[in-house]
């Protein structure tokens, strides 16, 4: 696997990336960390333009993409709200994408419909990166999650990962579970019965060789996990507030529970969190969610650099 193998590729779904490709992206991201922190200044993408098409609002993803492009010496243009564009006048996505592709060198898209990024890639002659399509894929989130695990645990193979919270509707955990299965991770699904990982997702994971197990309390996996991947349980998923409070209590992680966890265990969260992670976890060495959010920048830098064939001098 070489850098040039990525030139012009689209990043639409984690499904299409081989383990080798994923590893290569993560290795490249590692080299980007110092630059992402502003400790080193480079310009491999000078003169290149990133076109951002955010039909759905986003703060973290959009800003980290823009930061990534700027840190590599490139520039950004685009929109962050569909109402201000010609889409509001009924233009098709296909036409909007053709236009944006002619003004830029790489496109990042977030859209409310599933498959929008795939369609965009068909109509764009420039590489397209999916930044979330409705309940569908969000591959750069998955990559930054993998990057965080790999950096902290040293490997992705055979690690014990607990996915906790809303596993039924959360697209983040579906993509992540798929990616981890590729690396033969052990997956623990920790969720209330009504929000458990759907069988149509588990089936393929097991076919890929992942070992999976379901749990209905966080307590049961505390001692065996390398990663606690927390997600938000939405209030709207429950008929009444009492039921919600009960469930939210069971799937909440605090510093005292973590005393029984493995020393090197890490706590992750795609953010924003509400109250599934107690603030007293923030001060423990297990807390990794802020660093995880930062990791979005080096991982996205790696993708931009690879897709555009940017050359690092040093």
């Amino acid at each position: 696997m070489q850098d040039k193998d990525f030139i012009g590729k689209d990043i639409v779904s984690i499904r299409e990336l081989s383990n080798e490709e994923i590893e290569h992206i993560l290795q490249t991201a590692k080299k980007m960390v110092d630059i992402a922190r502003g400790k080193r200044v480079v310009k491999p993408l000078e003169g290149k333009i990133l076109g951002t098409a955010f039909f759905e609002p986003s703060t973290r993803t959009r800003l980290s993409f823009e930061s990534a492009m700027l840190r590599l010496g490139g520039k950004c243009l685009g929109f962050s709200e569909a109402t201000t564009t010609s889409v509001a006048k009924g233009e098709t996505l296909a036409d909007t994408v053709r236009m944006l592709a002619s003004y830029s060198d790489v496109i990042v898209i977030r859209h409310k419909y599933e498959g929008a990024a795939r369609l965009a890639a068909e109509f764009s002659d420039k590489p397209v990166i999916n930044a979330g399509d409705g309940a569908g894929q969000h591959p750069t989130q998955t990559l930054l999650d993998l990057f965080t695990m790999k950096e902290k645990l040293g490997k992705l193979e055979d690690i014990n990962v607990a996915l906790i919270g809303d596993l039924k509707y959360g697209r983040t955990v579906h993509s992540l579970a798929h990616a981890l299965a590729k690396f033969n991770a052990n997956l623990y699904f920790v969720a209330p019965e009504t929000l458990q990982m759907p069988d149509h997702i588990i089936g393929p994971l097991e076919e890929m060789g992942a070992k999976t197990q379901k749990f209905n309390a966080l307590e049961e996996v505390i001692e065996s996990c390398d990663v606690f991947y927390m997600t938000r349980i939405q209030r709207e998923r429950f008929p009444d507030i009492q039921e919600y409070n009960k469930v939210a209590g069971i799937f909440r992680l605090d510093a005292r529970m973590l005393e029984r966890a493995k020393k090197h265990a890490i706590v992750m969260h795609p953010l924003p969190r509400v109250n599934e992670i107690s603030p007293d976890v923030d001060a423990t060495k297990h807390a990794m969610y802020f660093e995880q959010a930062f990791n979005g920048v080096p991982v996205r830098m790696a993708l931009l650099l690879l897709l555009l064939g940017g050359e690092m001098d040093a």
Binding site: S13, R15, T92, L93, A94, H111, K112, Y113, E114, G115, A116, R118, L119, E122, D133, G134, A135, G136, Q137, H200
Partner: protein, 152 residues
């Protein structure tokens, strides 16, 4: 002499070994509008078959099938044999096999799929398993569960 349940045709297409009961569905997807057509179509329902026990059989005079029609038949009636008849003889025989790509012949049932929003693209599916039949939408990546219900 073997018995032809339906009168021989000189030129046209015979779709044989349709699983019993699916003949009408095949007729329907071929969009043969009896008000319009100028040729004879005969459908044998629940005909004796050595291979299948019972089968349906459809004969269409004067008409050849398009690739997309053969693909549709494969989806509805896997295992059907399609014979092209010329001068009263079987000129070519095709076994309807599941298409690897099903483009423009089934629609995605996911209302949030971009292929259902008026974009200038055709519905597009990729075959992931033959037994059981499973297709994945190229756009939203969801598995299509009910193939029959979603044929266009």
């Amino acid at each position: 002499m073997r018995e032809l349940k339906i009168t021989p045709i000189v030129k046209g297409t015979v779709i044989d070994h349709i699983p019993a009961g699916m003949g009408l569905k095949v007729l329907k997807v071929l969009g043969l509008d009896v008000q319009e057509i100028k040729y004879t179509v005969s459908l044998g329902i629940h005909v004796r078959s050595n291979k299948l026990g019972w089968k349906d059989i459809l004969k269409i005079e004067e008409r050849e099938l398009k690739k997309s029609e053969v693909d549709k038949i494969a989806l509805i009636a896997p295992g059907a044999t399609i014979s092209i008849i010329e001068k009263g003889e079987v000129k070519e025989k095709i076994k309807a096999s599941l298409p690897k790509r099903a483009k423009g012949i089934m629609k995605c049932p996911n209302p949030n799929c971009i292929s259902n929003t008026g974009e200038p693209v055709e519905h597009d599916f990729i075959l992931v398993s033959e037994k059981p039949v499973k297709y994945r939408c190229k756009y939203c990546e969801r598995m299509l569960e009910d193939v029959l219900k979603n044929i266009i």
